[in-house]
C-alpha cells in the first residue's frame, strides 16, 4: 500500500464518523431505531479500515517514523497556515483503540439506549465524538490537534449533558467544558509560543528546529514553560490534578458515554498529546509532568477507596490510572506510558461497559418493582450479582484483575513497566517520592477495585432489586467479552512477565529527546550524544539502549515486578479481609481515622475549594466589574451630564432666581445705603441690565 493510499484511507477513517453524524442528525425522526444500526455499521467499516491502516503501518512501514501529508489551510500572504495529518505508530495503534472501542460502544448502546426518546441523537453525538477523537489521533501538528481537541470538548459537552433535563447532567457538561477550557488556554499559550518561535505547527518541524538549537526567546526556561503549557492541555483533558474535577461529575452522562470518554478516547487524548510532544520536554518539564501524574494517581486512588457509587469508583480509578500514564511519560518511560494507555483502554472500557450492564439490569429490576427512588448505581444496593449476571461478573472480574496488575494480564505488563520506570527515575534523579506514590497507588488500586467487585458481585443480594436482576442480551455482553479477552497478556508480549521482548515494546521504542543537553537530564540524553565519538547506541549485553534511563529501567525490572506483585497482592488480600471475609469492619476503621476518611470521602474537598475560591472569586469579580460599569463608568458619563444639567439649571435660574441674591450682593459691593439696596431689588429687565454691566466690569477686570 502506497503512502498516498494509506493517507487517503486515513482520511476516510476520519470522516466516516462525521458522515454518520450528518446522516443521523438531519434525519432523526425518519431514522428512529435505524440510527443505531447505521452508526454501528459505519463504525464497523471504520474499524476494518483502521485495522488495514495499522497493519500497513506496523508491517509494511515499521521503520518510517511518520507517514504524513501537509497542506495549506489558508494563506496570510507572506506565510501560510498549514494543516495536515499523519500516521505514525502511535496514531496507528490509537486508530485501532478508538475505532474498536467506539464500535463496541455503539453496539452496546443499541441495546442500552433503546428506550431513550432521543435515541438517534445519541448516535449522532457518538459519531461526532469519534470524528473529533480520530482527528486528534491523526493530527501531525499542534493546530490540528487543538482544533480537534476543542471539538472533543464540544462533543463531550453534548454527550455528558445528553440527559439535560437533569440539572446535574447539564452542570456536569458545563463543568467539563469549562474546566477543559482552562487547560486549553495553557495548551493554546504553548501553541502560541511554539508558533512564535518556529513559525510552524508541525511536530516534526518543531522538533528539528529545537534539535538545531532554535529555542523560544533563546531560553531553556521558556522551552520548559512551553512544554508545561502544552502539557496543560493534557492536564485538562486527561483529568490530572488540579483539573481532574470534571471527570467524576461527567459520570452523569449515559454509561456508554463514560466508557467511550473515560476509557479510550477523550481522557486518552491528553496522554496521547504528551506522548506526541514528549521530545520537547526539558528536565524541569519532565519532573513537573512526573509529579503531576504521580500525585494525581495517588490522590485519585485515595478517593476511590471510599466512594459508594459504582461509576464514581471507576471514575476515580480512571483518574488514578491516567496519573500512572502521565507519570510514566514524565519519568521518561515513554513506551510503558503509551502501553498502559492501550491496555487501560481495553480493561477500563470493559469495566465501564460492565457497570453499564449492571446499571441497566438494576434499572430494569427497579422498573419491575416500581421503585423510582433507589439509586441503581449505589453499590450498597447490589451484592450477589454474580449469581444473576454471570457473564458480566466474569468479564468484570477479569478486568479488575487486569487493572490490579496481576500477572497474565495486559495490566500487569504495562504497570510493571511504569513502576520500573519510576524506580529508575528515582534512582537516577533522586526524586524518590514518585516511585513511593506510584507503588502506594498501585496497592490502593488493587484494594478498591476488589472492594468494588466483592461488594457488588459477591455475597448475598443486599436489596430486592439486586435479586431481580438478570443477565443482559448479546449486544451488551459481546463487547464485554471482546474487551476482556483483549486484556490478556498474549496480545502484547508472549512473555507474561516481561513486555520488553514483545512486539509492542519493539514497535514503540523510546523516542529521543530533542532538547539541548544543558536543559535535559543526563540520563535522558541519547548515548550517541553523550559520547559523541560513538556512532550508534551502546550495547550492553544482549540489549541495546537508547540512553542511560532505558538501561536503568531494564535493571529495575525485576525489583519493580516483585514489589508490585507484593503490594497488589496485599491490596487484594486486604480487600478480601475487609469485604469478603468481613474480619474487620470497614466502618470501624473509617471511624478510627475519621479525618482521613472524610478527606477521602469528600474528594479532598477540592470541589468545595474551587467553589469558594475560583468560582466564588470570579462571581465576586464580575459583580465588582458590573458595579464599576454601572456606577463608575456609566455613572461618570451620566454624572457629567448631571453636572451639565445642574450647571444649566443654575445658569437658567441666573435670569430670575439666583439673580435676586446676586443683586443684593452687588448692591452691597457697590456700597449703596441699605434703603437704596432694598429698592435695588427690582424687576427683571433692570436686573438684566445690571448683570450686563457687571459682566462688562468683569471683562474689564479680567483684561487689566
Amino acid at each position: 500500500m502506497s503512502h498516498d493510499l494509506l493517507l487517503k484511507i486515513s482520511v476516510v477513517i476520519l470522516f466516516l464518523p462525521l458522515l454518520s453524524f450528518l446522516i443521523i442528525v438531519f434525519n432523526q425522526k425518519r431514522l428512529g431505531k435505524a440510527a443505531g444500526i447505521i452508526g454501528t455499521s459505519i463504525l464497523g467499516i471504520d474499524l476494518v479500515l483502521a485495522a488495514i491502516v495499522a497493519f500497513n503501518k506496523f508491517v509494511v512501514y515499521p521503520n518510517e517514523a511518520i507517514i504524513q501529508w501537509k497542506f495549506h489551510w489558508f494563506s496570510l500572504g507572506n506565510r501560510t497556515i498549514d494543516l495536515g495529518l499523519g500516521v505514525d505508530n502511535l496514531a496507528a495503534m490509537m486508530l485501532i483503540v478508538v475505532t474498536l472501542i467506539s464500535f463496541l460502544v455503539h453496539l452496546f448502546s443499541t441495546e442500552y439506549m433503546s428506550e431513550d426518546k432521543r435515541f438517534p441523537r445519541f448516535f449522532s453525538y457518538l459519531g461526532i465524538f469519534t470524528f473529533s477523537m480520530l482527528g486528534i489521533v491523526l493530527a501531525n501538528n499542534l493546530l490540528n490537534m487543538y482544533i480537534f481537541w476543542e471539538l472533543v470538548g464540544l462533543s463531550s459537552y453534548l454527550l455528558i449533558g445528553f440527559w439535560y433535563e437533569k440539572d446535574s447532567a447539564s452542570n456536569a457538561s458545563k463543568k467539563a467544558f469549562i474546566t477543559n477550557r482552562v487547560g486549553d488556554l495553557g495548551f493554546f499559550a504553548g501553541i502560541m509560543i511554539a508558533f512564535f518561535t518556529f513559525n510552524t505547527f508541525m511536530f516534526d518541524e518543531i522538533f528539528s528546529q529545537i534539535r538545531s538549537g532554535v529555542l523560544p526567546f533563546e531560553s531553556g526556561t521558556i522551552l520548559t514553560a512551553m512544554g508545561i503549557l502544552l502539557f496543560a492541555g493534557a492536564i485538562g483533558k486527561s483529568a490530572q490534578f488540579p483539573l481532574h474535577v470534571w471527570l467524576p461529575d461527567a459520570m452523569e452522562g449515559p454509561t456508554p458515554v463514560s466508557a467511550l470518554i473515560h476509557a479510550a478516547t477523550m481522557v486518552a487524548a491528553g496522554v496521547y498529546l504528551t506522548a506526541k510532544i514528549f521530545p520537547v520536554f526539558t528536565a524541569d518539564a519532565l519532573t513537573f509532568v512526573a509529579y503531576t501524574g504521580a500525585f494525581t494517581a495517588f490522590m485519585a486512588a485515595t478517593i476511590g477507596i471510599t466512594q459508594n457509587d459504582f461509576k464514581r469508583v471507576l471514575a476515580y480509578s480512571t483518574v488514578s490510572q491516567l496519573g500512572f500514564m502521565v507519570m510514566s511519560l514524565g519519568v521518561g518511560a515513554y513506551t510503558y506510558g503509551f502501553f498502559h494507555l492501550v491496555t487501560h483502554a481495553w480493561f477500563k472500557a470493559c469495566l465501564f461497559l460492565a457497570s453499564g450492564s449492571v446499571i441497566h439490569a438494576m434499572h430494569h429490576a427497579m422498573h419491575k418493582l416500581h421503585d423510582h427512588h433507589s439509586d441503581p448505581q449505589d453499590i450498597r444496593n447490589m451484592g450477589g450479582l454474580r449469581k444473576t449476571m454471570p457473564k458480566t461478573y466474569l468479564t468484570f472480574l477479569f478486568a479488575t484483575i487486569a487493572i490490579s496488575g496481576v500477572p497474565l494480564t495486559s495490566g500487569f505488563l504495562s504497570k510493571d513497566g511504569i513502576l520500573a520506570g519510576t524506580l529508575a527515575f528515582g534512582n537516577l534523579s533522586g526524586h524518590w517520592l514518585i516511585p513511593a506514590m506510584a507503588f502506594i497507588s498501585a496497592g490502593m488500586t488493587a484494594f478498591y477495585m476488589f472492594r468494588l467487585t466483592i461488594v457488588s458481585f459477591f455475597g448475598d443480594f443486599k436489596t430486592e432489586i439486586a435479586s431481580k436482576t438478570h443477565e443482559n442480551n448479546t449486544q451488551i455482553v459481546l463487547p464485554l467479552v471482546v474487551l476482556a479477552i483483549l486484556s490478556l497478556w498474549v496480545f502484547y508480549s508472549f512473555n507474561p512477565i516481561d513486555a520488553s521482548s514483545g512486539w509492542f515494546a519493539k514497535a514503540f521504542k523510546p523516542v529521543e529527546t530533542v532538547v539541548p543537553a544543558e536543559y535535559q537530564f543526563d540520563f535522558m540524553m541519547p548515548y550517541h550524544d553523550a559520547h559523541a565519538t560513538e556512532s550508534t547506541e551502546v550495547s550492553h549485553g544482549s540489549h541495546s539502549y537508547l540512553n542511560k534511563f532505558e538501561e536503568e529501567l531494564h535493571h529495575q525490572h525485576y525489583t519493580a515486578m516483585f514489589l508490585s506483585l507484593a503490594i497488589a497482592g496485599f491490596g487484594i488480600l486486604l480487600s478480601f479481609i475487609f469485604y469478603y471475609y468481613k474480619k474487620v469492619d470497614p466502618d470501624k476503621v473509617a471511624n478510627s481515622i475519621k479525618p482521613l476518611y472524610l478527606l477521602s470521602y469528600n474528594k479532598w474537598y477540592i470541589d468545595e475549594i474551587y467553589q469558594k475560591t475560583f468560582i466564588g472569586g470570579t462571581i465576586l469579580l464580575t459583580k465588582l466589574m458590573f458595579w464599576i460599569d454601572t456606577y463608575i463608568i456609566d455613572g461618570a458619563v451620566n454624572g457629567v451630564a448631571f453636572i451639565w444639567r445642574i450647571f444649566g439649571t443654575f445658569v437658567g435660574k441666573f435670569d430670575n432666581g439666583v439673580v435676586d441674591g446676586l443683586v443684593n450682593l452687588s448692591g452691597g459691593v457697590v456700597g449703596f445705603s441699605g434703603s437704596i439696596v432694598r429698592k435695588l431689588q427690582t424687576g427683571r429687565v433692570q436686573t438684566y441690565l445690571l448683570l450686563s454691566i457687571i459682566g462688562v466690569i468683569l471683562l474689564l477686570w479680567w483684561l487689566f
Partner: protein, 102 residues
C-alpha cells in the same frame, strides 16, 4: 482749557452714571425713560465739549443734533410702548412686568 474740558467730561460722566443708575433702579417706566434721556444727554455734552475744546470740529455738533433727534424719536416709541403696557397691565411698574422668565 483742558481743565474745562475735563470738567465737562466729568459732568457727562456723572450724568451717564446717574442715567445708568436710574435705569437700573427706578420702578416706574417713565422714570426709566427719563434716565435714558440722561445718558443720551451725557453723550451730547461730551460731543459738544469735545467739539469746542478739541479743535472746533463741526462733526461734534452735528452728532449732538442727531442724538437729540433720535432721542426724541426713541422716547416717542418708548412712551407708546409704556402706554400699551399701561393698557394691558394697568400699571407701569416694570418690577411686576415679568411674566416671562428663565
Amino acid at each position: 482749557m483742558t481743565n474745562e474740558l475735563t470738567l465737562y467730561l466729568i459732568i457727562g460722566a456723572i450724568l451717564f452714571s446717574l442715567g445708568v443708575f436710574g435705569i437700573i433702579t427706578r420702578k416706574n417706566a417713565i422714570m426709566v425713560l427719563m434716565s435714558m434721556e440722561l445718558i443720551l444727554n451725557s453723550a451730547n455734552i461730551n460731543f459738544i465739549a469735545f467739539a469746542k475744546y478739541g479743535g472746533m470740529n463741526l462733526e461734534g455738533h452735528i452728532a449732538a443734533m442727531f442724538v437729540i433727534i433720535l432721542a426724541a424719536a426713541e422716547v416717542a416709541v418708548a412712551l407708546a410702548i409704556v402706554l400699551n403696557i399701561y393698557h394691558n397691565f394697568r400699571h407701569v411698574n416694570i418690577d411686576e412686568i415679568s411674566k416671562m422668565k428663565e
